[in-house]
């Protein structure tokens, strides 16, 4: 290995990667896919790819960040494949689920109007809030969670996310809207409830 040319960070011994980063990589994948076997496979693929790519590590990021970067690409590839094999079944009822939140007999007003979350950003500093935030994302139906992860966490552009998920943009918007409505509801019920005026 060429050690002298990397003045920045160095990679640790690959044999220690699994012990050092295995759980973190697994958690990252599992949270986004919600499938244990697939998340395990992705950890394996990521570490193999990292092994093969380690000469190219430029030392600009930490080892963990570098590995997560590889995992992200694997994750998007995996979603693309899995969606091709099993198209989005959850789309069908989504529109009517949204409709149900509004009162068609009363000009489509909110049945349960969103409350005023006084000073919400304070929550971001609290550990307990993140626990609930994660639980709310985990409570989303799988496909909504995957769409939400792709667009909001991995930062894919809408069009790119649609290609990965194999859906039309209008469908993505509906799914994202539904996911946001659910998250809003969940956070209001479990976090902002007490503080709501």
């Amino acid at each position: 290995m060429n050690e002298s040319s990397t003045p920045h960070r160095q990679l640790s011994d690959p044999e220690t990667w699994l012990a050092q980063h295995g759980d973190a990589l697994y958690r990252y994948a599992y949270f986004r896919l919600r499938d244990r076997a697939q998340a395990e496979d992705l950890v394996q693929e990521t570490l193999i790819a990292a092994l093969q790519a380690r000469q190219g590590f430029a030392g600009r990021s930490s080892e963990r960040t570098w590995l997560i970067g590889i995992l992200k690409n694997k994750l998007v590839d995996y979603l693309r494949k899995s969606v091709r094999e099993r198209p989005l079944a959850e789309l069908a009822g989504t529109e009517s689920e949204i409709d149900a939140l509004f009162d068609a007999n009363d000009d489509d007003h909110w049945k349960k109007p969103p409350a005023d979350w006084a000073n919400p950003t304070q929550a971001l500093e609290q550990k307990q809030f993140w626990k609930i935030f994660i639980e709310c994302i985990e409570a989303l139906p799988v496909r909504q969670a995957q769409a939400f992860s792709l667009c909001e966490l991995e930062g894919l552009e809408g069009e790119e996310a649609c290609k990965v998920l194999g859906i039309a943009t209008t469908n993505l918007w509906v799914m994202m809207h539904r996911a946001r409505l659910r998250l809003r509801e969940c956070l209001e019920a479990h976090w902002f409830g007490q503080g709501a005026r």
């Binding site: 699994l18 697994y26 244990r36 950890v43 394996q44 007003h109 109007p113 994660i134 991995e154």
Partner: protein, 87 residues
């Protein structure tokens, strides 16, 4: 005048694409008159902020979520095979 249902959809959509000026105007007019949708709009802003923070800092998700011992063993074996070729 837009309904709450239409307004909520456009506000949400504004995070996925750029709204037309007509849509933006419709939303703004509705928000002037509607507390619930104003709250919703603020909540969406907060949700985006929280999500971006989450994506950036990756606060530990549930620590109890760990690789199963069998998986660790299996992956270790596979890595060993791959390591022999390159290492």
């Amino acid at each position: 005048m837009l309904t709450c249902k239409q307004t909520a959809r456009l506000v949400s959509m504004s995070y996925d694409k750029r709204l037309s000026w007509r849509e933006r105007l419709g939303v703004r007019l509705h928000l002037l008159a509607c507390d619930a949708c104003r709250n919703f709009t603020r909540q969406m802003r907060f949700l985006r902020e929280a999500t971006q923070r989450f994506a950036r800092e990756q606060p530990e998700t549930d620590n109890r979520v760990r690789l199963a011992p069998e998986a660790i063993e299996r992956i270790a074996r596979v890595l060993e095979r791959h390591g022999q070729g390159t290492g």
